[in-house]
């Protein structure tokens, strides 16, 4: 797929890939073998009818393609951009055994974008109203999936969102250059058109409890509030000005539009020499954001080696193209600041890989006497999130793991509390958009059974 030139895009917030033309899409779609037993579908957490939508693209029926996608996926424009296709559908594609796999993600994105720009604006028809009311807490990918599925099945759905805009991590976390916010807004608008009610600025657990939602007439509740409690490294000097959690850095930039300051009121520090701690997708988003905010240098500092970096290959590739440096086998041990409390640098240790640890990856071991300093005025800590206790503290009858994550049935997402399901990062810990959507799909099916059959 054509992309913005790395030297240009590293200084702007426009989307990186430019999208396929209809001709390119039809040509790529024609590579699909239309397998009788499509392996790609088994790789998809929401079981999109992949050969089905691709055959519509081949036939120049782009609206038909989006209809096929919508049958199983409420957020195709999002998934086409942020799913790790290489580990899912495309990873299983038979064509991919000998050649490049069919670019399923690009095609999904094409169909969704075509519909958004030139389509009929029609949304899928919903079933006859059941009269049942469902509360979905959190408007991230899993919540939106539950909402979409249950609307299709004829239930009334209200989505509660703590922020002033719906979309959860799609809005506050994933940057504009990877997922334009206009796209999220349009996928949310489609759900509203299907009948979803969205209550923004509404913190369930603070503004209302789950028991009060039941008392107000809701028949079932889905919790998809995300992980939402950033992890820090507990190193000396971690509260110097200029050290952000990735959540704060990205929320200020994306949701609050700090990159447009002072047109928007929320400021964001523009570091000259930026270090991002961690090597997942969120770390890459943070590093590439820092570059776009005008940094001279941006370093990813990671304690393991290249091989263990958890970010998607495409994200690593894009980051490197944009001149992000990878400082591997390196671990920070403390931060330095000046008298006014502003960050000036950090001390690190070199690491080497030892025996495999519990995760199966080789454990990084500090090399004695290898201390060295990195000068930096901005550090983004991107080492994962824990479970935010705000909602669960207000609902003591939902069973939690010892880390505070909600215990959901692995198949259905059902919690220990009657009428309450949960899915996404609050159950699994930080994971991907599509896994959260898969959990939402499973929960929606189980909730539908509960609402129609009763238990």
């Amino acid at each position: 797929m054509p992309e913005q030139d790395p030297d240009v895009r590293r200084r702007n917030f426009e989307e990186v890939p430019l999208g396929l033309t209809p001709e390119m899409a039809m040509k790529e779609a024609s590579r699909c073998l239309q397998c009788k037993k499509p392996a790609c579908m088994e790789g998809c957490p929401v079981s999109v009818d992949i050969p089905g939508f691709i055959s519509k693209i081949v036939a120049n029926d782009f609206s038909g393609a989006i209809s096929k996608l919508w049958e199983r996926n409420a957020l195709p424009a999002v998934c086409g951009r942020v799913c790790p296709q290489e580990a899912q559908c495309e990873g299983r594609c038979i064509v991919g055994k000998k050649d490049a796999p069919v670019a399923i993600g690009y095609l999904e994105r094409f169909a969704a974008d075509y519909e958004r720009k030139k389509g009929t604006g029609e949304v899928p028809a919903v079933a006859q109203k059941t009269g049942k009311k469902v509360a979905v807490i959190g408007s991230g990918p899993s919540g939106l999936t539950v909402a979409g599925d249950l609307l299709l099945k004829g239930h009334d759905v209200t989505i509660f969102e703590a922020f002033h805009k719906a979309g959860g991590v799609l809005v506050y976390g994933i940057p504009e250059f990877r997922l334009p916010k206009e796209i999220v807004a349009s996928e949310v608008a489609a759900l509203v058109k299907m009948g979803a009610r969205i209550e923004t600025n509404f913190v369930v657990g603070a503004s209302v409890t789950i028991d009060e939602l039941f008392a107000e007439g809701y028949d079932a509740v889905y919790i998809g509030v995300g992980a939402g409690l950033p992890r820090f490294m507990n190193l000396p000097g971690e509260n110097f000005i200029g050290i952000y959690s990735a959540n704060e850095y990205l929320t200020r930039t994306n949701l609050m539009k700090g990159y447009l300051f002072p047109e928007y009121d929320t400021p964001i520090a523009r570091g000259k020499n930026v270090v991002v701690l961690g090597a997942g997708n969120v770390a890459m988003d943070s590093a590439r954001t820092a570059m776009r905010l005008g940094a001279d240098t941006v370093k990813i500092v990671y304690r393991r080696s290249r091989e263990e970096m958890p970010a998607r290959a495409e994200e690593l590739h894009h980051a490197e193209q944009e001149k992000i440096e990878f400082v591997l086998l390196t671990n920070p041990i403390r931060f330095f600041g000046d008298a006014s409390g502003r960050l000036k640098g950090m001390e690190c240790l070199k690491m080497e890989l030892g025996e495999p640890d519990a995760s199966g990856r080789r454990r990084p071991v500090p090399i004695e006497g290898s201390e060295f300093t990195i000068d930096c005025d901005l550090v983004v800590v991107s080492v994962g999130s824990n479970a935010n206790p705000l909602l669960t503290n207000s609902t003591p009858d939902i069973a939690l793991t010892r880390w505070g994550n909600i215990i959901g049935d692995p198949v259905t997402g059902k919690t220990s509390k009657r009428g309450v399901w949960a899915g996404g990062d609050i159950v699994t810990g930080a994971a991907t958009v599509i896994l959260a959507m898969g959990a939402g799909r499973a929960a929606a099916n189980s909730m539908h059974d509960y609402l129609t059959l009763g238990w």
């Binding site: 959540n247 009121d265 206790p389």
Partner: protein
């Protein structure tokens, strides 16, 4: 929603009171909790601890000092206008119980935050001595309300224009000398809370303070509001906003509050210029 139904300018227009429609929040809110307000879609999220709630009327009251662009923008909102966003109640409520003799110390808009706490402590059966401070009489707020909420009230002004001439800390020292105090609550500017806490630490009197660090989401998601309390990092939005005054690192808090000083100046300047231009065009 979030419509302003009453508005008052205090302290010569430097402090503003808004009573805002918020039925759900007014039912839930307890003393010590805060809300987050946003004037418009482009605005900052501003955390403010509630000064009062009226569950029957379905309203909450906030009182803020006009210091930067965001509060200047808030000041422009008149009765009938709505805030773009209002979220709450957030944070942990004050732990209210009967402990005996309590001293409440307030300064600046901290007095507004102190008000519902003082009232609740008195209602719980405590003997409440309140000490309020202001730079000068004209900047003093809520004298009558605080009088009603307390057993005894002392007022201090830095310039001696009203009440005791001097700082709240002087009166606090005197009160602590004279009688056995079981609890001190100090809410106001950081230096005030810091020095009150130093004084009560010497006397070993339990003390809590309410902190106002910069926040973004206010629900524990970002960690912007982290404060060092007893050597460990806490998030003021979910672990606070109230903490043991003897353990808070006030110096770090003061520095962190200055994180965006330059940007804040730029933003306020741009806003003033924009308003001036608009006035000229009108």
């Amino acid at each position: 929603m979030a419509k302003i139904i009453a508005r008052e300018e205090m302290a010569q227009g430097t402090i503003i009171l808004n009573e805002i429609e918020a039925p759900r929040i007014s039912q839930k809110a307890k003393p010590g909790q805060f809300v987050i307000l946003q004037a418009d879609e482009k605005g900052e999220r501003v955390p403010l601890t509630m000064a009062d709630t009226n569950p029957d009327k379905g309203t909450i009251t906030i009182i803020y000092m006009v210091v930067g662009k965001s509060t200047a923008r808030f000041k422009d909102l008149q009765v009938g206008d709505e805030y773009f966003a209002l979220i709450g109640p957030l944070g942990k409520p004050t732990h209210i119980e009967k402990v005996g003799k309590v001293v409440c110390v307030g300064g600046g808009t901290g007095i507004a935050v102190l008000h519902p706490i003082t009232r609740a402590l008195k209602a719980a059966g405590n003997d409440v001595t309140t000490i309020l401070g202001a730079r000068t009489y004209d900047l003093l707020i809520m004298e009558e309300k605080m009088k009603a909420a307390s057993t005894t009230l002392h007022i201090c002004t830095d310039d001696g224009s009203y009440g005791h001439h001097g700082f709240v800390t002087n009166v606090l020292k005197d009160v602590l000398e004279k009688e056995k105090i079981n609890l001190v609550v100090a809410i106001g500017p950081i230096p005030m809370m810091k020095f009150c806490s130093l004084i009560t630490k010497e006397k070993n009197v339990p003390t809590f303070v309410s902190l106002n660090p910069i926040m973004v989401d206010g629900t524990g998601m970002c960690g912007c509001c982290r404060v060092s309390v007893g050597g460990t990092t806490k998030f003021a939005c979910v672990d606070g906003p109230e903490f043991d005054g003897h353990k808070v690192d006030f110096d770090e808090l003061a520095k962190r509050l200055a994180s965006y000083l330059e940007d804040e100046k730029k933003s306020l300047e741009a806003y003033k210029n924009c308003k001036a231009l608009k006035n000229r065009l009108d």
